[in-house]
């Protein structure tokens, strides 16, 4: 029957709409379901996983020593040239010339956080830090020198 089908269509449509409205009302009445994070306020409690790839850093120990030998493996591994090793030759105690880094220049503005340099590094000298607030007003501030001034290579790292 045409009329019955017509009315049934209206009824089904209304029920389907009511079900949707019930779901939105459910959430309206339950503020506990809110998942918003209050970002700048929760900075202190923000917990990033240890593998999060924020930027490349070079850890130094308390004696201002790092593990970088200046082998340039990271520079070769990097797909967009964000790492640049500027090295020098140091004279060791035995009087031998030894390759060492002068500066490890890191272009954060080019970096895509692909982790290939970390994988490539044979002496685990660099790692990914969990920082992520990188915005600055001047692009030149994104060019970083990873080794601290006056630092030198750790004993026993070849």
């Amino acid at each position: 029957m045409g009329v019955i089908r017509y009315l049934r269509d209206i009824w089904r449509g209304a029920v389907s709409l009511a079900r949707g409205m019930r779901r939105t009302l459910y959430y309206f009445l339950r503020p506990k379901e809110i998942i918003t994070q209050q970002y700048p306020d929760n900075r202190l409690t923000l917990n990033l996983p240890e593998r999060f790839k924020g930027e490349v850093v070079m850890p130094h120990n308390e004696n201002n020593e790092h593990r970088c030998t200046g082998c340039q493996a990271c520079e070769l591994a990097c797909p967009n040239g964000s790492l640049k090793v500027i090295y020098k030759y140091e004279i060791t105690a035995e009087g031998k010339k030894k390759k060492a880094i002068d500066k490890l220049v890191y272009h954060l503005e080019l970096c895509t956080m692909c982790n290939l340099c970390i994988e490539a590094c044979p002496s685990d000298a660099i790692k990914m830090a969990q920082t992520f607030e990188h915005s600055v007003f001047d692009r030149s501030q994104l060019i970083k020198i990873l080794n601290k001034p006056g630092s030198k290579i750790m004993e026993g790292v070849e």
Partner: protein, 358 residues
């Protein structure tokens, strides 16, 4: 007990003592105008904030919470921003119409406020064709939208305006028919009469099936008339970017925005008056205790409470449903709502003649 009516009366007496009747009337008109504008601004701020909070809660998020306590001042800040923004006029726009359209929109929604009863016996203008006046005025909204769409010299705006024209013209019928149901039962177009007829019970309770159907149709029709989702085809963000106000910015955009919310308020207020008794308190037959408590609540609270309930329902629609397509929108009106509304008026007439309603 304090009420708006008494306050108005006192002001009137105080003024009449001090000056001639003509001056008193003029001053009262100025006062009423200022209050209308104040109400306007307040409603705009409150409704926008309410919409944002309601949508946020439905969308499992917090909504504005930075400006002021719990984000209360967010809309004020937004308004300030819109006031300071540059108002762009597109090249090739019909300048005169382009600037006139938002003003037209706001004037229409201001005119709509006139016959609304905000509290018992508290109206700006108790015209004897109050309901008819509201229907007539609310149809004028479409003119401002058409003006905006045509004058913008933008194809998106034009499409939005054309959609809006078709939409408002057709939904006006349904809204009219459902209003007619209540008018049939009441026998008057005057708003104060309609309110008084509900002293022994709201129409939604004593009007049987026809009033329920009329109420549902009315809610759908005013959602469509005010261009709100799921009938926001004139704006249709994902299709026409912003529809008829694509080219508007700054304060002119804000005026459109404000007019939309005021229209929602006014039409919901009419709905509350017609179906839910307006400022009439909620009474249950012989429960004297309850009735007295209900009477104690001021009538303005009743009116605003009911209106905001309806506004919430409309917001609830908006944040739940997807948008209709233009042909479906017209199908819904002409194939479903209009026949239903017509049958419904006949039914209401039958009930009114036979006196079956309570």
């Amino acid at each position: 007990m304090w009420s708006f009516q008494q306050a108005a009366q006192q002001i009137h007496e105080w003024l009449s003592e001090r000056m001639s009747a003509g001056w008193a009337l003029a001053l009262e008109m100025v006062l009423a105008g200022l209050m209308a504008i104040g109400l306007f601004a307040m409603l705009g701020l409150i409704l926008v904030l309410m919409e944002r909070k309601v949508s946020a809660r439905m969308q499992v998020r917090l909504g504005p919470n930075r400006v002021g306590p719990k984000g209360m001042l967010q809309t004020a800040a937004d308004t300030l921003k819109l006031l300071l923004k540059e108002g762009l006029t597109p090249d090739g726009a019909d300048k005169w119409l382009f600037h006139a359209a938002p003003i037209m929109a706001i004037v229409v929604s201001m005119l709509l406020l006139a016959p609304i009863a905000f509290a018992m016996d508290f109206q700006l203008w108790d015209v004897n064709i109050g309901v008819l006046y509201v229907s007539a005025m609310s149809s004028l909204m479409v003119i401002s939208i058409l003006m905006a769409g045509w004058a913008s010299n933008s194809k998106y705006s034009l499409l939005g305006a054309m959609r809006s024209g078709a939409q408002i013209v057709s939904y006006e019928l349904s809204a009219g028919l459902s209003v007619l149901t209540v008018v049939t039962l009441t026998g008057s177009l005057q708003i104060s009469e309609i309110i008084r007829s509900q002293a022994d019970g709201w129409w939604i309770f004593k009007g049987h099936v026809p009033v329920w159907i009329a109420f549902v149709i009315f809610i759908i029709a005013i959602t469509a008339e005010t261009n709100r989702a799921p009938f926001d085809l004139a704006e249709a963000e994902s299709e026409l970017t912003a529809g008829f106000h694509t080219e508007y910015s700054g304060i002119k955009f804000a005026l459109f925005f404000l007019a939309e919310y005021i229209n929602v308020f006014v039409l919901c207020g009419i709905g509350a008056t017609l179906f839910l008794g307006g400022p009439m308190p909620f009474h249950i037959g012989s429960w004297e205790g309850l009735n007295r408590i209900m009477d104690w609540i001021p009538s303005s609270v009743w009116f605003f409470g009911k209106t905001f309930l309806l506004i919430f329902v409309i917001m609830w629609f908006r944040w739940t449903f997807p948008r209709l397509r233009i042909d479906q929108l017209l199908n819904l009106e002409w194939k479903y709502l209009l026949p239903l509304g017509m049958v419904n008026v006949l039914l209401a007439a039958l009930i009114a003649i036979k006196g079956w309603h309570f």
